[in-house]
Symmetry: C2
Subunit: 579 residues, 2 copies
């Protein structure tokens, strides 16, 4: 009997092969109090396990084959860094000494404290960093308990062409699976922004996450099909069904190969309009991925990573080095550096948050925090100004909602310039200063902001969240989080028009920009600058180069007038029908 | 030396008189574990104290003089109800039995648990209910510790014309003070929506809250001045200063008397435009206050109170009785009943919330909750339909953001009518169904909603909060919560225009409607239906009757075009300059 288990498709591609069920199972963490004379010994045991975990990770890193995207190594490095950071390397020792508890339990307490911090974060991406901490801690706990056989099991069981069905995977495990040429992965945990999803996309492994109860329906070794675009795991197909998917697999392979040929072609619509296609990045290392797909520049360089998992913010020089690396690597192509977009509740040094408001998303975040704590902001502004000597830099202010904030940032930039002049340090004379349009007030008054800024960038994730008063991470109401809600489309249209009228560029860097199903609608609404995650770039480019603007404008105008999302969805499907 | 201590003026009026400093001081709550054979005795001790507290409250209630607004008694009743509810009457007993702890400590633990629940609520009004719990618990703890002398002290020390300067007041204490004819009150705790503020306004006692460190500057018995409008406590004034305030006091008294004469005059602008001036109410008892000021109807009857401080929601009949009481009392004048506006996080039966989202304000609230739990919603819809036989009822849906929600509510109303028909219970054939415009998406798409609803009601508090992504209860960013932000004014204008075009009325029931400083701006923007707290009604009426629309429209158009809030504030001041 055919079985279809649905999850979220996070990495496209179709795979057919025998299932390999791998279950991690929970680790039983013992808790006991040590006699005082054994406490020092316990600290030694912890330090040894920590060192062993680092050695393991370094070994995995070594095994990464040449030619693997460097962002994979970066994820392993993140775990290594965590195991060196005070949060995981020092705090548990203090707990062992203070409480006299065993090392496994000290790690467990610290993990729970960190989980609470991460759970309060309102950015989906940052919240998934919780999984990194969990994976890093689990590795040490497994070593402490001598239960470190899973990676060995993976190495033994993963064979060419297997489809791995499991509860959860760490980045290290995924690298191992990739080396053994698995055909696809299906996990119970993780979302579209989890590491397993990001890595799978990066490695080109079809992946579906959030598939529950697979153990009830799938037998180990049974032939299954994974469709990473539709987010489905199929079993019990007859010959006809299997043939259907085999044909689709061939088609997708051909399409991917064609896609890659687009890398160096100009991004121009079929009727000749030039479109700018930028990449979003996170870490300086992500530059490789952006360059591999021929990005015209960096439309969003998130700087939060520099501030995470540490107890003091990075100093000006550290920031300067990170930004310069990106700017130099892009060789004159524009690099849009977004200033710190953390909330007061997520200076994630492991300490509990300093009593954030009841609604962190409506609280002290991003530019609000930076203006309230200018000593946090000034080093970043100076670092960005200095890095701008190495290429073309655009400075992007997140979460602006009043002109007053724009003025204050401009004053701080002027002061930063004065500081650098006094210090006789080089900086580019004039960098573009732009604002993120993600608060409804900023979109409604986009024309006012367009007159005072050099460019705008629409952050659709927050814009949708606030416009609909719907936190998309809240499962009870995320059906209201609707990119096609007419209010959202009208605000995007207002912002694009404001840019045109003021003669300044408007980029879109939220998830809508990277969704190929929305590319034509956005073109029709007048968007000319997209900033997307590197893995989505070529598909968006393919659609752009295959589209003529005029008919898109007509349907976009029609969609803009709809009051009914279902009707808009139908019109959109029509728009994408020839794809 | 003159001293001016600033707080928040919460009840207007000027008072001059000697200060009387009253400090509650913290109650030292002991914590100990009882030997098992004394636990039952401790439970008895707790029950006795609880009963004594109820007796005290009943006595205070008896002492309320005839002619005092009935909402005062309602506040005392709230405390009485709390002391009868399982939250305070049963849970502490369970704690004593389970933990073997003393009764004072059991109450303390329960209070802390409740405080956490209340602190997560995102409605300023509901959050202040925390103070009720604290006051009710304190009363029992004082009785348990035989430290119940404060009310006696108040009775002894409060004399005619004294200005009470204190840390905090319970409703019972304020009633006692009122009976002793105090001239004004100044407290350290509490905000504009605290009970002390609401009661003081209701009783006409000038009041300033949030005044810190008064003990450092004011001596007991010293002559002081309180300005309840400006929110200031002054001491050390010279003869000239005192004379200035005495004159202003006389002027205010005359103005108040004149205001009262407006009660029965029609609400018409100086150039003849009729304006509807409704009242917001909370409890059926508030009807008295609404009638005393001659409200044209109830523009917002919040129904949350029925659901608070209890473990099961009120059944249909209980709701029917409450709604009918209001509808009958209004004798045919319209009564706008807003359906349940609670969040999943605030079904405040004392149980910890069921894992609300990270941002309750962006989560499962109001109509979202009602549509997800139709068994909670259906009895309310039936009760409203039944109550509508006694007069004119308008049903108001809070927090709509999509047309889909409107359709779902309309279907549930049709089903409720069918149910009543089957049961052969009477209901009015056709009641008006309206929607709150408080989510930005609803305001942006107001024309779409206006075509499908019988009226709209602008809830400015949430509308401002979401439009600016600024929780006004978050002290770090509430400077961004700006009614004059051009985006807010443009959304109000869009909504009013949508109502005009669709030919349906648009009411405003948020705090902006009751702010006399904004009355003229709102008239100029085209608002014709205000719903305000009863104490603000006559002042708003005075301004309306003294205004001509045409010049207001001109300045409102000018303000609407401003991109600078400071300039808008100047234009607004000009608008109000002759006042």
């Amino acid at each position: 009997m055919p079985v279809a288990l649905h999850g979220t498709g996070v990495s496209r591609g179709i795979a057919l092969g025998p299932a390999r069920l791998l279950q991690r199972g929970g680790l039983d963490i013992p808790q006991y109090v040590l006699p005082p004379h054994l406490v020092d010994e316990e600290v030694e045991r912890f330090i040894a396990a920590l060192e062993a975990a680092r050695t393991q990770l370094r070994a995995i890193r070594q095994q990464i084959p040449a030619g693997t995207p460097t962002d994979i190594a970066a994820f392993i490095d993140t775990h290594l860094l965590m195991l060196e950071d005070a949060t995981l390397a020092t705090v548990p020792i203090e707990l062992i000494l203070r409480e006299g508890c065993n090392a496994e339990w000290a790690l467990q307490m610290q993990q729970e404290a960190l989980t609470r911090v991460f759970d309060q974060m309102d950015d989906a991406y940052l919240r998934t960093r919780r999984d990194d901490v969990a994976h890093a801690i689990l590795r040490v706990q497994q070593l402490l308990l001598n239960q470190n056989q899973r990676e060995a099991a993976i190495a033994a069981e993963a064979e060419d062409g297997r489809i791995i069905v499991t509860d959860d995977l760490s980045p290290g495990e995924l690298v191992l699976l990739h080396q053994h040429n698995v055909a696809a992965i299906v996990t119970e945990h993780g979302g579209p922004m989890s590491h397993v999803a990001i890595l799978a996309r990066s490695l080109g492994i079809p992946a579906v996450v959030g598939v529950h109860n697979a153990w009830q329906y799938i037998r180990d070794g049974e032939p299954v099909v994974v469709d990473g675009r539709q987010g489905v795991l199929l079993a019990g197909l007859d010959a006809q069904g299997a043939a259907f998917y085999r044909t689709r697999q061939q088609q997708e392979k051909r399409a991917r190969a064609q896609l890659h040929r687009l890398k160096d072609t100009p991004t121009v619509t079929a009727d000749g309009a030039a479109i700018a296609l930028f990449a979003n990045i996170e870490l300086p290392e992500d530059i490789q991925a952006a360059r591999r797909v021929g990005a015209a520049g960096i439309g969003l360089y998130r700087t939060e990573f520099l501030y995470m998992n540490r107890s003091t913010p990075p100093d000006e020089d550290e920031q300067y080095r990170a930004y310069s690396k990106v700017v130099k690597a892009m060789k004159g192509k524009p690099v849009t550096i977004r200033t710190l977009d953390l909330g007061a509740d997520k200076t994630a040094d492991g300490a509990p948050p300093e009593r954030g408001g009841a609604n962190p998303a409506l609280g002290l975040r991003a530019v609000r925090l930076c203006l309230r704590e200018p000593e946090l902001f000034r080093p970043q502004l100076r670092a960005i100004l200095r890095a701008s000597t190495h290429g073309t830099v655009r400075l992007l202010i997140p979460m602006i909602s009043t002109l007053q904030e724009v003025r204050q940032v401009q004053e701080l930039i002027a002061e930063a310039r004065d500081d650098l002049r006094r210090r006789r340090q080089a900086f580019a004379g004039n960098i573009a200063v732009g604002g993120m349009i993600e608060v409804p007030a900023a979109a409604i008054c986009a024309e006012d902001f367009a007159r005072r800024l050099d460019f705008l960038s629409i952050g659709t994730n927050d814009l949708i969240q606030y416009t609909l008063a719907a936190d998309r991470l809240d499962e009870t109401i995320n059906h209201l989080y609707q990119p096609l809600h007419p209010a959202v489309l009208r605000l995007i249209h207002t912002t694009l028009r404001a840019g045109t009228e003021a003669g300044i560029p408007v980029t879109m860097c939220g998830e809508m920009a990277g969704d190929p199903l929305l590319t034509r609608l956005l073109l029709g609404l007048g968007l000319t600058e997209f900033s997307v995650p590197p893995p989505a770039l070529l598909e968006v480019k393919r659609i752009i180069t295959a589209s003529e603007l005029e008919p898109l404008r007509r349907i976009a105008r029609k969609i803009l007038r709809q009051d009914d999302m279902e009707q808009s969805a139908r019109l959109l499907a029509e728009l994408n029908s020839d794809d």
